[in-house]
């Protein structure tokens, strides 16, 4: 019996909350009309709080566990709050009838006590009143179910839809990441075979020639050449290793590592780093790869004379813009840039290439911070 009373109270409370919600919607609408951009996030926060309270109330009213709290927001939340007027009116009607029934029951009790009503009449009233009470209680619980259905329809299905969309996104970005990793490996294989291996084979040839030569001067020349080749092989090797993973990021911050890379660049690089705290390692690594690719492209293909790299905070995330003054016309679907776009997408970031022919190239990366 107390459970029914609690549920009844929860449904009755829904009338009050609907009034609060109506008031909120009116106020939020007025505020939005006056100061549009600033009021929106505040209004949404309160709307979500109201929804959370509603869901707790509905859990009590229908005796079911409360759903997971809503994280997303948007027009559906406001639509739900507005639509609550319907169950609230029905609740007012049914609960009102209950109160009227109680009042009538009190009159019957008083009449029996004072002897103005005969016992058979009173019994008839009890039977009639009991039937009406049962019907009324059913109606009240029906209102709770309607209220619950409305919430499910307008709120949970939208969040389910969002989840499904998120899963699709994740599956796509996971496949993209695997493809990007494979592309990257292919590039490294090419770097090793076309660069380092050729250099080492040539080195072996030089030393072989030196050993077979009977002319002392020539032998000396060949050895000097071989020595220079070893230096170059070591440099090449370091570059390939860095392309595999910038191990310097384990002990240095992104700006230090970028400065190091910039020093080796053939095109002058200006770095403007304004992040107050280090972002996560994954973010630093992604930004590093984008910056390196941009520097390589600017030097190799764009014939740029200067590169600027700006890294700073943007909202709750990080933004990096790499710009050069080269020939532009970079292909965003080329292996290099496409690989970077996939890497950024995997971190829920945004990647944009702006490279009109003849007017430099700009890469813009935005990454949310964990």
């Amino acid at each position: 019996m107390p459970t029914v009373l609690i549920r009844l109270a929860a449904v009755a409370a829904g009338i009050v909350t609907a009034l609060v919600e109506l008031l909120f919607l009116v106020l939020a609408g007025l505020a939005a009309a006056v100061a549009r951009p600033r009021v929106r996030p505040v209004a949404e926060r309160y709307a979500l709080r109201l929804v959370a309270a509603e869901q707790r109330r509905l859990a009590i009213a229908t005796g079911t566990p409360a759903p997971a709290p809503l994280t997303g927001s948007g027009p559906r939340v406001y639509a739900y709050l507005a639509a609550r007027i319907v169950p609230a009116l029905m609740a007012a009607l049914t609960v009102g009838l209950l109160l009227v029934g109680c009042w009538l029951a009190a009159i019957v009790v008083v009449a029996v006590a004072t002897g103005t009503m005969s016992v058979p009449d009173a019994l008839l009233q009890v039977i009639l009143g009991g039937a009406l009470l049962a019907g009324n209680l059913q109606a009240i619980l029906g209102v709770a179910r309607l209220d619950r259905w409305l919430a499910r329809r307008l709120l949970e299905e939208s969040s389910r839809e969002a989840l499904r969309q998120r899963i699709d996104e994740l599956a796509a970005s996971r496949a993209e990441v695997i493809a990007a990793v494979d592309d990257e490996r292919r590039r490294i294989e090419r770097d090793l075979h076309d660069g380092l291996q050729q250099r080492l084979v040539t080195l072996g040839m030089l030393l072989g020639r030196a050993r077979r030569s009977h002319d002392l001067d020539k032998t000396r020349d060949l050895l000097a050449q071989a020595h220079a080749d070893v230096q170059r092989a070591v440099e090449e090797m370091r570059e390939v290793a860095w392309r595999v993973y910038p191990s310097a990021l384990t002990h240095s911050s992104l700006d230090e590592v970028l400065t190091m890379v910039a020093q080796r660049s053939t095109v002058p690089v200006k770095i403007d780093y304004t992040l107050p705290v280090r972002p996560g390692r994954r973010i630093e690594t992604a930004l590093y790869f984008v910056a390196c690719e941009a520097m390589t492209n600017a030097a190799k293909h764009a014939r740029a004379t200067v590169i600027t790299i700006a890294v700073g905070a943007a909202g709750t995330g990080v933004e990096m813009v790499v710009r050069d003054d080269g020939v532009g016309g970079a292909d965003p679907d080329g292996t290099g840039l496409h690989g970077l776009a996939r890497r950024v997408a995997a971190l829920d970031g945004r990647f944009a290439v702006h490279s009109p022919p003849g007017d430099g190239t700009e890469l813009r990366v935005e990454l949310p911070c964990e």
Partner: protein, 213 residues
């Protein structure tokens, strides 16, 4: 000897030109892709063609296809193919009808200058040069019973034979007399049931066929 060289890496191409010049060979053309290779062969009619497998325009097996065409079109021209990694299919294609004047070696082998020059000499002289690693793969992939009947020494001799070495060269490498090598060779051919095959180059081809190349 007169050589046409095709290799897309400038570094390696220049290195090879110098090495071959040191050895007194004449590199009549050194080109970076398969198309230019065929043009140069047609124009210069070299004794030997040395070509890389992976080259422009397609960067797949363009060099190998050019080598096969050279072998068909100019049978007198010896061909030495350099490969980034062992691909038995390539070796099989090169040895499809005859094993004379053809070589297939790993690019890394070029760094072992002596081995490379020796392979080049062998190919130019009309015999075969197969990279030891290719032979190793053929031998290990081959599960034929008669191979198991070979003694370790005979397997060693077979390994060298399949690379294209002559009996005399095998004898020198294994530090045994030439007649000892000849005896091993006869036993091998008996055990593999190939004793009816005569002649050096046909014997090498028979061995490679047997191994499935």
């Amino acid at each position: 000897m007169r050589i046409v060289l095709a290799e897309d890496s400038t570094l390696l191409r220049e290195g090879l030109v110098r090495l071959l010049a040191d050895e007194g060979h004449e590199v009549v053309a050194a080109v970076p892709d398969a198309g230019q290779l065929l043009t140069a062969v047609e124009r210069d009619r070299p004794d030997v063609v040395i070509t890389d497998v992976r080259m422009p325009p397609d960067n797949t097996d363009d060099g190998l296809r050019a080598a096969l065409q050279v072998r068909r079109q100019w049978p007198g021209t010896a061909v030495l193919v350099l490969s980034q990694y062992v691909e038995k299919r390539y070796a099989a294609q090169l040895l499809a009808d005859r094993s004379d004047g053809v070589g297939y070696i790993l690019k890394d082998r070029v760094a072992h200058v002596e081995d490379f020059l020796e392979a080049l000499d062998r190919v130019a002289a009309g015999s075969t040069a197969l990279d030891p690693e290719v032979v190793q793969q053929l031998l290990s992939a081959n599960g034929n019973d008669p191979l198991h009947a070979l003694t370790p020494r005979e397997r060693e001799v077979l390994h060298h034979m399949a690379q294209g070495h002559t009996n005399a060269a095998i004898a020198a490498r294994l530090h045994v007399s030439q007649s000892a090598v000849e005896k091993h060779v006869n036993t091998i051919f008996d055990k593999l049931d190939l004793s009816h095959v005569t002649g050096y180059s046909r014997r090498i081809l028979a061995i490679l066929r047997y191994l499935g190349a």
